[in-house]
């Protein structure tokens, strides 16, 4: 104890502060040399250095013990929720989801762009074929209730109807707005541009006017089918 007292009486505050900086690795070369000279000459300084090192460990332990077991699992979601509340335009959407949606949109744009007419027509043909298959469902039993105004229930040629021949006109740039069947022709209108509606003609063999009228889909069928 006396030694410790003596040590403290001989160590100035400035020198003690320097010892802390030495332990922290924050001294100049000259200061380092000074501390190490003193250290080799005075064993109390060595003890003091060890004490500072122990104190650092204790302080780190004191701070980290309070936080090491705290559950921070929901922090990110909470942050993003707050950001979305405070600024709805903020970029909070997960890029995985965004990139999927954007990817699909980009693919469709690319497919239907005028720069790639062949692919556009091919894609349009596939789309019309899919629409026609859904509308006509030739030779297949429907599972819809009879009272439903489903297009499939009004298939003009339930057992023998065949889809054959396909002619496309124009290009596809938007979603289907109207589906009309008349005089053996299925007419699909795309509502991308009201001034120049996109039209796809699809001829169905065996179509009759009566059937075509019956096959007029209502809005609910159209939206569901597409």
């Amino acid at each position: 104890l006396n030694e410790e007292l003596n040590m403290n009486t001989t160590l100035s505050e400035d020198f003690e502060a320097l010892l802390h900086a030495y332990v922290d690795g924050e001294v100049t070369e000259a200061e380092r040399a000074r501390v190490e000279n003193e250290r080799s000459a005075n064993p109390d300084i060595q003890k003091k250095i060890e004490e500072i090192e122990s104190l650092r460990v204790l302080a780190a332990e004191a701070f980290s013990s309070a936080s090491s077991e705290v559950d921070l699992g929901g922090v990110y979601d909470g942050i993003m929720s707050r950001i979305a509340d405070e600024d709805p335009d903020a970029q909070t959407q997960d890029p995985t989801t965004r990139s999927l949606i954007e990817g699909v949109i980009a693919s469709f744009k690319a497919m239907f762009s005028v720069e790639r007419p062949l692919i556009g027509f091919g894609a349009a043909a596939c789309m019309v074929a899919a629409i026609a298959l859904f509308v006509w469902s030739p030779g297949q039993e429907t599972t819809s209730p009879p009272s439903s105004p489903s297009v499939a229930n009004h298939s003009p040629v339930p057992s023998k109807g065949a889809r054959r021949g396909m002619e496309l006109e124009g290009r596809l740039t938007g979603s289907v707005e109207k589906l009309q069947i008349a005089e053996g022709i299925t007419r699909v209108e795309f509502a991308d541009d009201p001034d120049t509606p996109m039209v796809v003609w699809h001829e169905i063999e065996g179509e009759t006017e009566d059937n075509a009228v019956n096959a007029q889909p209502d809005a609910s069928n159209e939206s569901r089918g597409l």
Partner: protein, 206 residues
């Protein structure tokens, strides 16, 4: 140890820079990475200053909401983590001011030591850390450490947590705490001394 910490911080700074660039370009995964890497550090600093779980959790959210808002304008003059820690410290100070809570004990940097205090401080490490620390019940030791932290002033807790947990250099401490480098050295020295005394007092009072 200091050299290793410096290397780790340098590597981390490079990684942060890449994540920030990703975030600015629209990759929210980059922001998520930043949050997930720093949220516990932010919590630890906030808790180190505020000493309250709920307040610290609020600060964690406040900090990252602020980071999200201002990150596109972050110039990168300093490293991201020093910028982040400055936000943490400032938000904690704001919160403390708003709450206007009385601090339990405020040890001033310039307070003179009495011989008794010096004697106690000197014997602490050898008497209470090496041997008995292992023998003490862990929970009891934790309580004593928490009491000791509660007894420190905000300014001492701030500098201690940033140095001992985050390993900031004196220059970074000066940057985050907006102090002169010489003041950092002096304040850290006094903060450790006071922590040592506070810990001893907590042990003496059971």
């Amino acid at each position: 140890v200091a050299a290793n910490q410096a290397e780790e911080r340098q590597a981390r700074a490079l990684k942060d820079k890449a994540l920030i660039a990703g975030f600015v370009e629209g990759d929210t995964r980059a922001f998520r990475s930043l949050v997930e890497h720093y949220q516990r550090k932010v919590y630890t600093i906030a808790h180190g200053i505020l000493r309250n779980h709920e307040d610290s959790m609020d600060v964690v959210q406040d900090v990252f909401v602020k980071v999200h808002r201002h990150l596109p304008k972050f110039k990168g003059d300093s490293s991201f983590y020093t910028w982040l820690y400055r936000i943490v410290v400032n938000l904690c100070i704001d919160r403390k001011r708003r709450a206007a809570k009385a601090r339990m004990v405020d040890y001033d940097d310039t307070r003179a030591q009495t011989p008794d205090e010096s004697r106690g401080a000197t014997t602490l490490a050898t008497t209470h850390l090496d041997g008995p620390a292992r023998a003490l019940d862990r929970k009891e030791l934790r309580q004593q450490m928490n009491k000791a932290l509660d007894m420190l002033s905000d300014s001492h807790r701030k500098i201690l947590v940033l140095r001992e947990i985050e390993g900031l250099s004196y220059e970074e401490l000066a940057d985050v705490l907006e102090l002169a480098k010489g003041t950092v050295m002096s304040r850290l020295f006094h903060a450790r001394q006071n922590f040592q005394k506070a810990f001893q007092s907590a042990q003496a009072n059971g």
